[in-house]
């Protein structure tokens, strides 16, 4: 790939944002959309890829409406999608605590929290439907936390000034997903949804330029399957595992979105990745993933490092006046509750100053000593008992006695396939929901907003907007005998055969680790032009290494987890290049994207609204070819761009 990117002047991006007053747009848009009469819905077959919050809620809701649905997932059960792991909570503008929240405030906070790189109309819709998500989940039996009077409890999360987060102990994602999964299984039982677990989508099939199906592989038997339909909904989650170590589950991947990208769907803002400040640090080369410690811990824990570089004393031996509570010092008004990007970057800065703690020096303390003295150990146990237990299991240390060691880790990806207001990608008939799309969080996602977005997309947005495609376009009947299916299947087969034929010396896992290290060091919390250039070279070299030297035992005709993983690594190796390229192209700092060249004298991010107030949507031109950049300008009609300040 050449280092220069071709830029297309004429934008092919039509966001289809409705006009009129912001607060009326969604209602008006729903009215303007065509309807499909209930008797006709069963004539349409929809293919849903993924069963996380986005996929399960979409598949269930569409089947309830009468559409025929086929749903696929990688895991052995839809209930195991990565959404299950979300801990902290889900936002909604219910204003139950009477503390001044409203749809407008949630909208405002999300646009600002995203550092003015999200599409306002989408965010407003998200805030609007948030309240109905809670209604829906409660009706399904999601056991949210409650007050003694029997009404729903809320907490403040991730530094929000109002308490708008609903939660189910430390297992909110699990409970929301089980709610959506139960709705999905009800439709499976009713015969309206065909569920195919242990399947991996390997290609998207376009007929006359419209997404009409997919090619998948049965991961148990190795067989290739063709699925034809009237629309494809990709709900395949985020690409955080391009960094190898992340808080994502091991199966999280970019394969589905990347293959769709190679078929023509634009990929937007791949460099917007979120690094979560409170994770358990890496303990050795064997580390397979990182574990998040809920950020609610920052409500009571105080973050510190030794004042002196290289101080290797045990934490309890370091006297109070030799500790630097750097977040409280640098950000007196937000203190330990600064947003994720700020907290993460500050931890890195302290470690770069050789003040990091623990054996590796790549950690800072999160200390509960003062909270325990203030509120008692029992009170802290009641609040965080399960998290403390989790920490102790992993590290073998007791956080009631010794401060926790934490370090930032990759957690969430704001970038994804570009979608318009209808959640339709640049390929007609291909809709993208949940973390897999790009639209609502801009350059930084606020805590407890991903669950909200996944369910908003699946329960409330897609059931309305899918009609724009189904009723708006003439869809000729298509079967899997169509030549486009044969072509897609043989390309999927050929790629797998090629991986197996290399028979080199290195495992895919070791190449993935090396890629992850490059991405983390040069494309992680702080990025600069030179480093990104090196990363691009390294990624290309690793990709070559993969295709010359990877070794995957076994064959493709049965259950072969090493082969599955190798296929995903091959896609990460192509995608990583786009991520680094996008990071280099975006000559500003915003949200999770921090370019060291673009900072204020006191080290804060410097956004460049004059040149970068746009979403970057990339068009694939071939592996090793420069992709074309299309810009969707972002207009802020309501929330005027300002500098985020947490001082």
């Amino acid at each position: 790939m050449s280092d220069t990117t071709s830029k297309s002047g004429g934008s092919r991006l039509d966001s289809k944002v409705p006009s009129g007053p912001m607060a009326e747009r969604w209602t008006r848009h729903k009215f303007d959309l065509k309807l499909i009469n209930p008797a006709n819905r069963r004539k349409f077959h929809l293919i849903v890829v993924g069963t996380g919050l986005a996929g399960s809620s979409a598949a269930a809701s569409l089947a309830e409406m009468g559409y025929r649905v086929t749903v696929l997932c990688i895991q052995d059960s839809p209930r195991r999608a990565h959404s299950i792991a979300a801990q902290g909570g889900i936002n909604a503008a219910k204003n139950y605590p009477n503390d001044g929240d409203s749809v407008h405030r949630l909208f405002y906070d999300t646009v600002k929290g995203g550092d003015f790189r999200a599409r306002e109309s989408n965010v407003h819709r998200l805030a609007e439907v948030s309240t109905r998500i809670i209604d829906q989940c409660v009706a399904q039996g999601v056991p949210f936390a409650r007050e003694y009077g029997g009404l729903l409890a809320n907490r403040s999360f991730g530094g929000a000034q109002v308490s708008r987060t609903f939660y189910a102990r430390g297992q909110t994602g699990q409970q929301l997903l089980l709610g959506a999964y139960s709705a999905l299984e009800r439709q499976v039982g009713a015969g309206r949804v065909k569920l195919l677990a242990r399947r991996e989508m390997l290609d998207l099939v376009l007929v006359d330029g419209i997404a009409r199906g997919i090619v998948a592989r049965n991961l148990v038997t190795g067989e290739y399957e063709r699925h034809a339909g009237d629309a494809v909904l990709m709900c395949t989650g985020g690409y955080g595992n391009v960094f190898y170590l992340s808080t994502n589950a091991k199966a999280c991947n970019v394969t589905a979105t990347w293959r769709a990208h190679k078929r023509g769907a634009f990929f937007a803002n791949p460099c917007f990745t979120q690094i979560h400040p409170t994770c358990i640090p890496v303990s050795g080369d064997h580390q397979s993933k990182l574990t998040l410690m809920s950020e609610s811990l920052r409500n009571d824990g105080r973050v510190w490092v030794p004042e002196r570089s290289g101080d290797k004393r045990a934490p309890n031996e370091i006297p109070e006046n030799e500790r630097d509570y750097y977040l409280e010092r640098l950000y007196p008004s937000f203190g330990n509750l600064v947003p994720r990007d700020v907290a993460s970057r500050s931890a890195k800065e302290q470690c770069d100053l050789k003040k990091g703690v623990g054996e590796s020096g790549m950690a800072v303390y999160l200390d509960f000593r003062d909270a325990i003295a203030r509120d008692s150990e029992d009170a802290i146990r009641a609040r965080y008992g399960n998290l403390f237990q989790m920490y102790e299991r992993i590290t073998g240390e007791d956080p009631y006695r010794v401060p926790m060691r934490i370090y930032p880790a990759v957690h969430y990806t704001m970038g994804g396939l570009w979608v318009d207001y209808n959640l339709e990608s640049t390929l007609p008939g291909l809709f993208v929901l949940g973390e897999a799309n790009f639209s609502d969080h801009g350059a930084n996602r606020l805590g407890a907003s991903a669950l909200m977005q996944g369910l908003a997309d699946g329960y409330f947005v897609i059931p309305a907007t899918i009609a724009s495609h189904l009723a708006g376009r003439k869809l000729a009947p298509v079967t899997t005998d169509h030549a486009a299916f044969a072509e897609a299947e043989s390309s999927a087969r050929e790629r797998i055969a090629r991986i197996l034929s290399v028979q080199g010396k290195r495992s895919a896992d070791s190449i993935h680790r090396e890629l992850g290290l490059t991405m983390w060091n040069q494309c992680g919390m702080a990025r600069d032009k030179a480093g990104l250039g090196q990363a691009l070279e390294k990624i290309r070299a690793l990709r070559e290494e993969f295709w010359e030297n990877v070794r995957v035992p076994g064959d493709s005709k049965n259950f072969n987890q090493t082969l599955e993983h190798a296929g995903r690594v091959a896609d990460f190796l192509e995608f990583a290049e786009l991520l680094a390229l996008d990071a280099r192209e975006r000559e500003e700092s915003c949200g999770g994207h921090f370019r060291t060249e673009h900072q204020t004298p006191d080290g804060e991010a410097r956004r460049d609204d004059e040149h970068f107030s746009h979403a970057s949507a990339w068009e694939f031109k071939g592996v090793g070819e420069a992709p074309a950049l299309h810009k969707e300008p972002l207009n802020f009609e309501i929330v005027h761009p300002s500098t985020r300040s947490y001082k």
């Binding site: 309830e64 895991q75 052995d76 299950i84 829906q136 699990q174 064997h286």
Partner: protein, 267 residues
């Protein structure tokens, strides 16, 4: 259970069940591991072993896993006779090697049950659980039709007890631990979760009948009160839920409402 650690790490002998497919006959295979870091998780130890198997062109050991933090329910394994290993309320992915002594021999098998056929090595097919949920493990509420969330107060103790049961991760350890391979704890957890909440009341009887019927159809055994399930459950689902489920089933059978089939047309 913490043990002194070996300077260079632990020497561990693994006896692992290998089985190339559902109908193949399986056998144990022995691997000697030198210098296992005590900070590794059990699954990371298997990763390291698999890396070396790949390096020598041998077939790596298949095992299910995903979140690696005890919530998705994908990991399984019977370790030295215990589903999810020796630690209470701990999934295999959360088990760490610092709990083992230098020189230990560890036997690793799949979750065994007729209703969980082996897919390969340590991977089994637990889709029977999904089919039980599809039969009735839900509250029938279509998207969009829900009333305002706070219109139905639920006492905190009740909500907490529902949550205790809803915490099930569907891993199947209860089945693997039970001498009869019974799925009662799994089914009881879901019946309890939904029964305890007022939202679940309208379908109370049909749910109990349909889920129990589906459970029997899948070929799970009966409960004869060993309560191994409760001991093995990584989420501490209370075994008292089984008694509740039996009461619910009896009550529903007496009222003998017809078992629920598919959700009504247009639902």
């Amino acid at each position: 259970m913490s043990a002194p650690t070996h300077a260079k790490g632990l020497r561990i002998t693994l006896r692992v069940w290998r089985q190339s497919g559902p109908s193949a006959s399986g056998a144990f295979e022995t691997h000697a591991l030198e210098s296992v870091s005590p900070d590794m998780s059990f699954l990371e130890m298997l990763d390291v072993l698999n890396e070396s198997l790949v390096g020598t062109g041998k077939s790596p050991i298949s095992f299910d896993h995903d979140c690696r933090e005890g919530i998705c329910g994908a990991c399984s394994l019977v370790i030295d006779g215990h589903a999810h290993g020796p630690d209470a309320e701990t999934t295999t992915c959360q088990l760490h090697m610092r709990h083992y002594r230098d020189g230990a021999t560890i036997t690793v098998e799949p979750f065994r049950a007729n209703a969980f056929p082996v897919v390969r090595d340590l991977v089994v097919d637990r889709s029977a659980f999904d089919r039980i949920i599809a039969a009735g493990g839900f509250i029938s509420v279509n998207t969009g039709s829900a009333p305002e969330a706070n219109s139905l107060p639920v006492g905190k103790p009740l909500a907490d007890e529902a949550m205790d049961n809803a915490a099930c991760i569907g891993c199947g350890a209860c089945v693997a631990a039970c001498p009869n391979a019974s799925a009662m704890l799994f089914v009881a957890a879901k019946i309890s979760h939904l029964k305890l909440l007022p939202q679940g009341a309208p379908e109370r009887e049909s749910r109990a009948l349909a889920m129990v019927e589906a459970m029997d159809k899948e070929g799970f055994g009966n409960c004869t009160n060993h309560y191994e399930c409760g001991a093995a459950c990584p989420k501490g689902i209370p075994v008292s839920s089984i008694a509740r489920m039996n009461r619910e089933f009896l009550r529903a059978s007496l009222k003998s409402s017809p078992p629920r089939g598919a959700a009504p047309e247009g639902a």
